[in-house]
């Protein structure tokens, strides 16, 4: 007894078996788990099972890819940004021929602007972004000062609440408008101003775009932006030259899958034949791939550079 209890005393990492007497005499239970005989599905990947899957992938991906990729007919006026640093008014040289039938989204774009820089990301307050007005409440000043009159009456002294901050802090450089004056609408001002919030959702990459405005579709008959010439006036508030940044102004429609991006289409289209050809490499019987064009609305985009 005494000795058997000693078997349990090992260094770490050793199994403690509570005495051979207790354990050893017991016959191991004949359960499927303990005998490692649990019923198991033992899949085997063979050409027979994998190749049809490849074909299916191929068949599925090609229409998706084609659907995603079908080019848009928008105007791409990505002229070099030679005068980003001044206020600018732009007149379209060609008539605007695309008739957007849906909402038109107006983006502003920036390049080489490291909004995802850690210093920047860190400076963001999440509750502001959530538009939580409570978090924006300035802590109420509960301090009150009284003058104790010799007669015993208390006279409150008026405390001036303004003029205590530097004026430069109130109107920081390059802030054309202070944060409390972003919008006339009270519900869209200050830190819950949507422009501000959009801006503060830090972009993923140094070249990015952000949604600025939406041009709502008026009625079913009229295009949102009818054909014709448009002019754009940009006031240069935001200096980007110091970091060689560039600005863009983008008008775009949105499809069900978001803004225009050829990547997905290309990727799907390339993967599909690859999968199929791999499959057909060892499968002698190749089936002809039928493609169907789907009728989808596709993203169109008008890119302009101020």
């Amino acid at each position: 007894m005494m000795a058997s209890s000693y078997t349990a005393k090992e260094e770490d990492g050793h199994i403690t078996v509570s005495g051979p007497g207790a354990l050893r005499s017991r016959k191991p239970e004949n359960t499927a788990f303990k005998q490692q005989r649990l019923p198991a599905w033992q899949p085997i990947l063979t050409a027979g099972t994998v190749l049809p899957a490849f074909f299916i992938i191929g068949l599925l991906f090609i229409p998706i890819g084609i659907g995603l990729f079908i080019d848009y007919t928008g105007v791409d006026a990505s002229s070099p940004c030679f005068n980003c640093s001044q206020s600018f008014s732009w007149n379209s040289s060609r008539p605007f021929v695309f008739d957007p039938q849906s909402n038109v989204y107006v983006y502003y774009g920036l390049s080489n602007f490291y909004q995802n820089h850690r210093r920047y990301v860190k400076s963001r307050d999440d509750s502001q972004l959530n538009g939580d007005p409570k978090s924006l409440m300035v802590r109420r000043n509960t301090l009150e000062l009284f003058y104790n009159d010799p007669n015993g009456t208390k006279v409150q002294i008026l405390l001036n609440t303004t003029g205590i901050a530097w004026w430069t802090d109130k109107h920081p450089i390059n802030w054309r408008r202070p944060v409390f004056d972003l919008d006339a609408d009270e519900g869209n001002n200050g830190f819950i101003n949507e422009d501000f919030i959009v801006w503060m959702r830090t972009a993923a990459l140094p070249t990015f775009r952000k949604l600025y405005r939406i041009i709502n579709k008026k009625s079913g008959m009229v295009p949102t932006l009818p054909r014709g010439n448009y002019s754009l006036e940009v006031v240069y508030n935001y200096p980007v030259r110091s970091f060689e940044g560039r600005k863009r102004m983008i008008l775009s429609t949105i499809s069900w899958m978001g803004g225009k991006n050829p990547f997905l289409g290309i990727a799907y289209i390339t993967v599909a034949p690859c999968a199929s050809s791999w499959a057909s490499c060892c499968c002698s019987s190749t089936t002809s791939v039928e493609t169907e064009t789907t009728t989808l609305t596709f993203p169109t985009e008008l890119l302009t550079c101020p």
């Binding site: 005494m2 000693y6 990492g13 989204y105 993923a204 110091s242």
Partner: protein
């Protein structure tokens, strides 16, 4: 046995000098001449002496260090030899370990100089002796005696107390390099301004530390409980004539204790009184060294029966861990008499932990208590074992550490290069704080470097250690649970004591096995005997035996008959020459022939008459012909009657012989003798032993007649034993008696002295005859061996047996096949050794199987060649030859030689993983040398208990007594046949599982962190993390941990039956095949590929971040979330792809953790990023695309490589008689370069 061979090197006595790597106390040869050291006043000379001994010269090879003599203690002078009375010339001062006695009158007795017993290098304190007053009655003539303080009898095996648990456990844990690394990372995060919050790395670390601490705390609690159970155990103490019940922990040194039958001894006791008439008691030390036979212990001679009046002191050495060594002496003070001095040896010492058997009650005095008992000294913690897998992990870690550092360096460098461009460092919108501007540039660089390190540190997974440990811990239960390992006879299944080496079972390359008891059952079946050259055969099957063979004469005489006298002498010799104990059955009174053989395991022997349960307990299992057999021939051993052996002769007479001396068996002498005095007054010496040790000691003219028989028997595979006798005349006897007594009383070098006397007495005997017994093969021994060979393991048989016997056993186990070409390298009769044949030896044909046979004498010449250069050359040659042979047989081996062989192979090129199987007694040294050792611990006959011990080198180096390693065995299986499943199925699966686990872990963390690294190029090297802190923390803990754990526990890429049927599959994973650099690089490349794909796939998607159908744009957190989602799904599905054995658990865990990912994210804060992502079709499309794209190449690889796969051939089960026919080089090696460990699917 050393005769004739020149220049052998013996390790005579080696102290475990701290870090000294030699094992202590091995004495190979007794011919060493005392090597006197000049006593230097005030100095102890401890020496590590290496003797080179040949027949007539002893050359010390080197003499070791010198130690300062510890201060003599006061009480020692009390026992200066002058006070010792007439026996003093026998006394060797206890301090003798080469102490020059300080007092002038101390006469250095012979042997003083050679004595070097104390483990001085380890602990000088132990050089001292301790003095104990029996029953705390200090002797009257010993006023100066101050009772020394000894520790109490509390056993403390626990490591922690409530108070020191936290600090001590934390300290222990952070000593592990991995934990320490993570701690450093955590601290850096706390101190430096780092991108991720300290929580991200603090939480996993905290988790790991807490889990480990809880586990260790629980284990320690168990230890506390066990300690308490031991410490509170009630014992009976005799105090002033009263018997007092005490708790075990209250026992003090000097207490007289009473122990009843079947109780364990609470501390180390000197036996004072026994209820048996013959002043002996029997104990079993099964729980100490695994030997379950009954050992006889003797009370100290001449102690008074009345313990009350006993006034004695005991002087003995300080506690030392060796279970089989003890020296001390007892001074018995009687009124008006000179004090008597009795020597104490191991036969008087009852060890804590052993159990009293067959003796109603004993009394003994406690001499070592608590942590100083030999048992406690032997149970010091084991060192952690490192398996080859762990070494691989460490190597991989190093690579990843390099990757990590280089990533951080690249980022830091690029950051400063990039910032050099005007405007980049500080755009107006992104100004630095004042503090940032003021900091020193280099300090900033360093901080940045640290920040990057922190950002990328997840590449080295904390959780891998946890998972690996959990896998090992939980996985080992499957061995315990396996019902195939359950042996109904002994009602025991397999036992796993360490889970650290599970996977090593799948990597064994060399199997060293003992023959007796391992390959064979050690279940002796009498075959024939030969008396005086005439052969007697035993032919019936035991059916016609009634229990009472009286006067039938020798059965079945074959040829002629030797003289009846000779026959009887032979049978008498066998009856007397043994150490069998007979238990008297209490219920049948002392009926003369009712001697029930000591019942131990309850095995029925031939159901002879009244010997229903006669089982015999020879001291050595190698007793060839045991008394029960003799009953058939009319001689019955009836047992002892206080030093008198009774035998029942053919004529139904009872003969009594007074047993004078037993010259014990030991494996070096290979013989044992008894000296008895017959009624007529003749003194006889009977000796039996191996032929090689008997033949040189008998008159040569008798040898030839019997030698022929012996050799014939040996060729047939029987075990032979020769019997000789000698009449001792009074003078000779007196001389021998004196010699033996003197040697037994010696405190120093007792064994050497005994050996010398034995050798002296056992000469000039006459040979009577020889016996042959058959040792049956173990169940399925041949199939097992065949399977092991088929699996590419090389089986070496290391045995002490004769070559012929061993060879035939090898043939029987199919280790040698008919077409095996045997190469023998043995000592020839003339004494010359064909050692030159080794160099001129060439391999004739490649596809031929070779077996190699070498014997001990030759081996010692090979290994211990006199000149250095020759030695290494021979060794290399020998090794080369052996490695090219499928099986090697080494016979006539001394225990130390077994160890030498194992060591040699283990240290050979590539350090192959070795596994030893032995029977625990004489194979311990070999087992200690092997990475994986199997020790079979034998009991006789049907009840066989075997232990597989996986022991590590460290134990051996520490010079611990080998049996403790056996006792602390790591794996135990009941039978040899279970070895096959253990290695081929369990070992294989464990290895594959853990290898996959490790590779997968590195892979999944690489593709986890690579996108984060790439992101630095797009965020101005600002250490902006790509993933949210929650992802960073939870990735390894929650999202991807369970599937791999389930996989690593349940995976059976090939099902067990197939593994067992096709031993060749084992070769596929040989030499750590799945954890070598090649597969590692494959996995790394895979990780890089996936990482790149994830990052750039999403990067191009974010070319236009307006991804929702309402035109709103996604920011950086969405980016990270998409990458992370792809990542989690891909790595989980990758594992699903690798899983070949889908149990419901796998399904549950894999699909469950994917399902868990989704709801978890919906609820978490992340600013609804995930929900927004789900509403974006593009995000969905890209996720699907990327997952498919990253998995497609894998699938293709699996599918297309399959037909050419190396395992294609394995679909046809290789049922061939494996081993011999398959060239080891035809192994299915290519598995390791394949992508999937498990693409070799199961075929059903």
């Amino acid at each position: 046995m050393a005769e004739g061979s020149k220049g052998r090197v013996y390790l005579q006595q080696v102290f475990p000098l701290g870090t000294d790597k030699t094992r202590g106390g091995e004495v190979l040869c007794s011919r060493e001449v005392a090597f006197p050291l000049k006593p230097v006043e005030g100095l102890i000379q401890t020496e590590t002496r290496l003797f080179c001994s040949s027949a007539d010269c002893v050359t010390p090879l080197f003499v070791g260090e010198t130690h300062q003599l510890p201060q003599r203690t006061k009480h020692q002078s009390v026992f200066s030899p002058s006070t010792l009375g007439p026996l003093s010339h026998l006394q060797v001062p206890l301090k003798a370990p080469t102490v020059a006695p300080a007092s002038a009158h101390a006469t250095p007795s012979p042997g003083t100089g050679t004595a070097d017993k104390g483990p001085l290098g380890r602990d000088e304190r132990r050089v001292d002796s301790r003095t104990i007053c029996v029953g705390h009655r200090s002797s009257s003539n010993n006023e100066a005696f101050i009772p020394p303080k000894f520790c109490d009898n509390r056993i403390v095996s626990s490591k922690y107390t409530v108070w020191n648990f936290l600090p001590k456990n934390l300290f222990e844990q952070f000593r592990r390099i991995a934990n320490f690394y993570f701690l450093i990372i955590f601290l850096v995060q706390v101190i430096v301004d780092t991108p991720t919050s300290p929580v991200t790395s603090g939480l996993p670390l905290f988790f790991v530390i807490t889990v480990t601490a809880i586990k260790q705390g629980y284990e320690d609690w168990l230890r506390h409980k066990a300690d308490n159970e031991v410490n509170k155990y009630p014992v009976t103490v005799l105090e002033q004539g009263r018997r007092i019940q005490k708790e075990s922990e209250k026992i003090k040194v000097g207490d007289v204790l009473e122990v009843d039958e079947d109780e364990t001894f609470p501390c180390d006791l000197i036996l004072l009184q026994s209820s048996r008439e013959d002043d002996t008691c029997f104990v079993t030390t099964a729980s100490l060294d695994g030997e379950s036979n009954h050992k006889t212990h003797y009370i100290v001679p001449d102690t008074e029966k009345d313990l009350e009046s006993l006034n004695a002191t005991i002087e003995c050495e300080q506690p030392q861990p060796d279970l089989y060594k003890f020296v001390g002496r007892m001074h018995i003070y009687k009124t008006d008499q000179e004090p008597a001095v009795r020597s104490l040896g191991p036969e008087n010492l009852l060890l804590k932990g052993s159990t009293l058997k067959n003796t109603r009650r004993i009394c003994g005095v406690a001499i070592y208590t608590g942590m100083e008992t030999k048992m406690a000294l032997n149970y010091q913690g084991k060192s952690q074992k490192r398996s080859a897998v762990e070494k691989s992990i460490n190597a991989f870690l190093l690579v990843y550490l390099c990757i990590l550092v280089s990533k951080a360096l690249v980022c830091t460098t690029l950051k400063y290069v990039w910032q050099n461009k005007p405007g980049q460092d500080e755009p107006w919108y992104n100004e630095k704080t004042k503090r940032e501007k003021d900091t020193n540039l280099y300090l900033k660089m360093f901080t940045d470097f640290l920040s990057f390190m922190v950002l990328f540190n997840f590449i080295i997974p904390v959780s891998m250690y946890v998972t690996v440990e959990m896998q090992k811990f939980l996985g080992s239960f499957f061995i315990t649970w396996d019902k195939d390992f359950f042996d109904p006879e002994i009602k025991e299944g397999a036992l796993v004591n360490t889970s650290d080496l599970n996977e090593e079972l799948g990597q064994v390359e060399y199997v060293f096995t003992d023959k007796t008891g391992t390959l064979t059952q050690n279940n002796m079946e009498f075959i024939e005997c030969c008396i005086d050259g005439f052969q007697y055969k035993y032919q019936d099957a035991g059916t016609d035996l009634d229990g009472f063979c009286v006067t039938d004469g020798p059965v079945n005489k074959v040829q002629h008959k030797a003289g009846r006298e000779k026959e009887e002498l032979f049978l008498r010799a066998l009856c007397l020459c043994h150490t069998v104990q007979v238990k008297e059955s209490p219920e049948q009174g002392q009926g003369q022939r009712d001697g029930l053989m000591d019942q131990v395991d309850g095995l029925g022997v031939d159901g002879l008459g009244r010997m229903e349960r006669g089982s015999i307990r020879p001291h050595r299992s190698r007793e060839a012909l045991s008394p029960p057999h003799l009953m058939r021939y009319g001689f019955t051993f009836l047992g002892f009657e206080s030093k008198t052996m009774k035998i029942l002769t053919r004529d139904n007479d009872v003969e009594r012989y007074e047993l004078l001396h037993v010259l014990n068996f030991d494996p070096v002498r290979r013989r044992m003798s008894v000296i008895v005095r017959s009624k007529s007054g003749d003194t006889l010496l009977f000796c039996k032993g191996a032929d090689s040790s008997i033949f040189p000691r008998v008159r040569q003219e008798e040898v030839e007649r019997i030698r022929m028989n012996v050799e014939r028997n040996a060729t047939e595979g029987y075990r032979t034993l020769c019997v000789a006798y000698k009449y001792l005349n009074a003078e000779e006897y007196a001389q021998a008696d004196a010699g033996l007594r003197e040697a037994r009383l010696a405190l120093q070098d007792r064994e050497e002295k005994l050996m010398a006397v034995y050798n002296q007495v056992e000469t000039g005997m006459s040979l009577i005859g020889a016996t042959a017994v058959e040792d049956r093969l173990q169940e399925e021994a041949a199939e097992t061996m065949e399977a092991l060979q088929g699996a590419g393991m090389k089986v070496w048989v290391l045995t002490g047996d004769k070559m012929e016997t061993a060879k035939s056993t090898c043939y029987a186990c199919r280790l040698f096949q008919r077409n095996t070409e045997l190469l023998e390298l043995t000592k020839m009769e003339a004494g010359g050794v064909r050692s030159d044949c080794m160099s001129s030896w060439t391999w004739s044909s490649a596809n031929h199987d070779y077996g190699f046979i070498i014997d001990g004498a030759t081996l010692s010449m090979v290994l211990n060649s006199s000149s250095e250069s020759n030695s290494s050359r021979y060794k290399n040659l020998f090794l080369q030859i052996c490695q090219n042979c499928t099986s090697v047989l080494c016979c006539r081996m001394a225990p130390l030689q077994k160890a030498q062989i194992v060591k040699m192979v283990k240290n050979s090129k590539g350090s192959p993983i070795t596994l030893s199987i032995g029977d625990g007694a004489n194979d311990v040294s070999m087992i200690l040398e092997a990475h994986v050792g199997l020790v079979r611990n034998l009991t006789l006959k049907l009840t066989k208990r075997s232990l597989i011990t996986v022991s590590d080198r460290e134990n051996g180096i520490k010079g611990k007594e080998g049996r403790q390693a056996v006792r602390n065995s790591d794996y135990a299986i009941p039978k040899l046949k279970h070895l096959k499943k253990l290695l081929l199925a369990h070992g294989h699966l464990y290895y594959v599982r853990i290898a996959h686990l490790v590779q997968y872990f590195f892979y999944k963390n690489l593709c986890f962190i690579l996108p984060q690294f790439l992101y630095q190029f797009f965020c101005g090297y600002s250490q902006q993390p790509l993933y949210d802190a929650a992802y960073l923390t939870m990735y390894n803990i929650c999202f991807t941990s369970m599937p791999i754990l389930a996989y690593s526990l349940l995976e059976q890429h090939i099902c067990m039956e197939v593994l067992l049927d096709n031993a060749t599959l084992y070769r596929g994973i040989a030499k750590n095949g799945m954890l070598r650099w090649r597969p590692f690089f494959y996995w790394t490349l895979l990780g890089v590929f996936h990482g790149l794909l994830f990052f750039f796939g999403v990067r191009y998607l974010f070319g236009n971040p307006a991804l929702q159908d309402n035109g709103q744009v996604f920011g950086n957190w969405s980016y990270g979330t998409i990458v992370f989602t792809v990542l989690v799904f891909t790595v989980t599905l990758k594992l699903a792809l690798d899983t070949r054995h889908w149990t419901w658990i796998n399904h549950f865990v894999i699909w469950g953790s994917l399902a868990f990912y989704v709801p978890f994210l919906k609820q978490q804060r992340l600013y609804f990023v995930f929900a927004n992502m789900l509403s974006s079709v593009s995000a969905w499309l890209v996720i699907i695309l990327l997952i498919l794209l990253s998995l497609l190449p894998e699938i293709l690889l699996v599918v297309f490589r399959k037909p050419r796969g190396p395992h294609a051939g394995q679909m046809k089960p290789v049922h061939s008689s494996a081993g011999g026919h398959q060239s080891p080089r035809s192994s299915a090696r290519p598995l390791l370069m394949r992508t999937f460990s498990d693409e070799s699917n199961t075929v059903l």
